[in-house]
Amino acid sequence: METSSDSVACLLEVRGISKSFGAVRALQEVDFTLRAGEIHALLGENGAGKSTLIKVITGVFARDAGNVRLGGDDVAPRSAKAVLQAGIATVYQEVNLLPNLSVAQNLFLDRQPMRFGVVREGEMRRRARALLADFGLDIDVAAPLGHYSVAIQHVTAIARAVDLSARVLILDEPTASLDRHEVDILFGIMRQLAKRGIGIVFVSHFLDQVYEISDRITVLRNGRLVGERDTASLARIELIRMMLGRELVETTSARAATREHQPRDVCASFENFGKSGYVAPFNLELHHGEVVGLAGLLGSGRTETARLVFGAERADGGQARVEGVPVRLHSPRDGVRHGFGYCPEERKTEGIVAELSVRENIVLALQAKRGLHRPLARREQNEIARRYVRMLDIRPPDPERPVGLLSGGNQQKVLLARWLATSPRLLVLDEPTRGIDVGAHSEIIRLIRELCDDGLALLVISSELDEIVTYSDRVVVLRDRTHVEELAGEAIDVTNILAAIAADGASHEVHA
């Protein structure tokens, strides 16, 4: 943990914040310092604790420990409204305004200029126009907000926040749905606000933008502070190391380098496969008995690639082949029919059916594949469930228990069992070890190897580079929704993956 000099006055000081949800420690003694007039990027992968930190600062979540000081005064963690009045405003990715009201009404909601109990519409519009003019916007403020682009809605939200005498402005992924031109406009406004002395917290996973706009960077990982640096002196590869938790280890970690594979048959191949605005067209060949790892930062297109490959998302170009035969891949049903399986990252919302039993969850995909009229008899279901409960050591070993009552690791095993029961040829696993305790973690990695030895093709996404290096035969690296690099054999190590992820950072370091 290192902190840059404290010579400049601090605007917002967050010290020793901890927050737990049940047994999950979302934040552990996190510090964060924002100076007046700076743009400060808050970075971290999924689950790093960025959103939790923001919600603790803004009073949405009560903090378990620590304190927040704004301009030297304690900010009592009373309520979101109190924090807003103290001068900390947040604009979320999904703008929290009312699209059916006019721009002016949105700007002055709850504080409309009144005379004799009547809203002075003309006065309100005049003030709205003046306010937006500061932001370089000249639009019809009487039109409903929903008529305007997301960028203008963002600017409106920011204008409202600033006008509420915000001293700290938190922008949570403001650029996620903006195009380049709109980003430029937004950045112009951010710089202007910073000049006025407002401190801006910028959350984004677009590293190019972070380097372009931010003065300093704070990185969180797994609910802890990794470090706080000046952007100008932080090399991109170093930043990525901080985010992914790689120290400068040059050793090819625990890679089982002994495994030599004789080339096996192609299981599935994808040619110019892609979807515009989702992930750029890619070529990918998956072989029987091979694990292909997908590496990249959050938002780089890993999950998107997985969903296209399985058919959960429909590609708008390219050709998929299974065992060399061109196939249609328009829906998960198509994927299942071709012998694909997909364990999504969002286990609870996209994986398990919580109230159904372990047995029912395990047989679900197999039953869907067989069709309505060929039901699995209860006896067969019991047999399948018992076999996988034993094979994967699912605990407690009770097939009739609702799956929602199992731990995360066991739920993940149930999902694996669901797909294994369909005798798949290709399994796509999205972050199969996320949120799983250490014991189950290594078990799942062992399973991945075993399945692969049985001739299955596997496509595995993980943020844990160590993990990817351990089990992958090939690693595809993604950046900005594009497949940028493929590493195979000896070339697979953490350093090379990091280098590929950071590759286009060179220009920025020169620029910085």
């Binding site: 049903r333 919302t349 994986g351 159904l356 869907a368 009229h373 039901p375």
Partner: protein, 330 residues
């Protein structure tokens, strides 16, 4: 809930027994049965007979609710199918009358299913459309009059007897057996419960969730149409304004009393029909007791509240807490 309902269905059976016992108190002849002209008569038979339309509706409704949906239009579909049956009864044979009436229900179900499954509308709004429009359609069919008929075939459907049982009761039992066979005999039951429990996850597991949702609305429409035909046959006429009025609410109530959650997932066909019986047993009991029928609504509300409280985890939590408190005090 595990404490209060040790076994599925126990609460409903207990409730039915309690209500039957109360009925026995207010009307000593409640359990009397007699055979006349090859048909059983008595209050119990009356409960079954009167309860048939709602029981049929609940057979369709329970599957819709299991997919996390709801169908507010079943009362209106009853009016449409009743109007069609009554208009055709005296000029066409029973098979054609039934085919036309049930076909109309099927089309109504397809419409609802299309709005929900294909266009992705919220079920409550999507079916509200037909709930409002359907009664208008029925009135157009009857041209605003009460259409009466005298076709003995159709009258038999409402008033005849099979093996001593009134025909509506026999039809309801038949439909219950049929739906149990189809839903639990095929994989439909599992796939519907999975769809209702987590539609996204089910879709990713390869379940054809859209087709599933479409199918349950179609089934619900057909069940409602059958209920409409029986209701019309019972009174030997079709009253587009009042046929099936508010019965969608009774059907939803029956499903909820039957222990299926409005949030989808687990369901029970038998318990839904049992729920319909509980409602009708209450209705009949209140009528027999001589209290004004207005009480009916209040008692019904009370029973619903009781059943929902029993199902609510929060309430069980509170009850558990109260029990622990009492224990610590002691």
């Amino acid at each position: 809930m595990t404490v209060l309902l040790p076994r599925r269905g126990l609460a409903q059976i207990l409730a039915l027994i309690v209500i039957l016992a109360v009925d026995r108190v207010v009307s000593p002849q409640f359990f009397d049965l007699r055979l006349q002209d090859g048909r059983l008569f008595g209050s119990l038979i009356d409960v079954l007979n009167r309860g048939s339309p709602v029981a049929l509706l609940s057979l369709g409704m329970v599957l819709v609710i299991a997919t996390r949906g709801i169908d507010l239009s079943v009362g209106a579909i009853m009016a449409i199918s009743g109007a069609i049956a009554a208009s055709l009864a005296d000029s066409h044979g029973l098979p054609i009358v039934l085919a036309a009436a049930l076909g109309a229900g099927l089309i109504c179900g397809l419409w609802n299913g299309f709005l929900v499954a294909v266009l992705g509308m919220q079920p409550i709004v999507a079916t509200l459309i037909l709930m409002v429009a359907g009664r208008g359609i029925a009135q157009l069919i009857t041209e605003g009059r009460i259409v009466t008929f005298s076709s003995p075939d159709l009258v038999w459907l409402g008033n005849g007897a099979i093996l001593g049982l009134p025909v509506p009761v026999a039809i309801t039992l038949g439909m219950l057996a049929l739906s149990c066979a189809v839903v639990r005999g095929s994989a439909l039951g599992l796939l519907i419960e999975a769809t209702g429990g987590n539609a996204r996850a089910s879709e990713l597991a390869g379940v054809g969730t859209r087709a599933m949702i479409l199918a349950v609305y179609v089934w619900c429409g057909v069940c409602a149409a059958l209920a409409g035909v029986i209701a019309a046959a019972d009174i030997m006429g079709a009253d587009a304004n009042n046929a099936g009025l508010w019965l969608e609410l009774d059907a939803i109530l029956a499903v909820v009393i039957g222990g299926s959650s409005l949030f989808g997932g687990r369901f029970s066909l038998v318990l839904a029909v049992l729920g319909a019986l509980i409602i009708q047993t209450m209705n009949t009991g209140i009528l027999l007791s001589g209290y004004p029928p207005e009480f009916n609504l209040l008692v019904k509300a009370g029973v619903v509240l009781a059943v929902l409280l029993l199902q609510s985890p929060k309430f069980s939590g509170l009850a558990g807490m109260a029990m622990r408190l009492r224990r610590t005090k002691a």
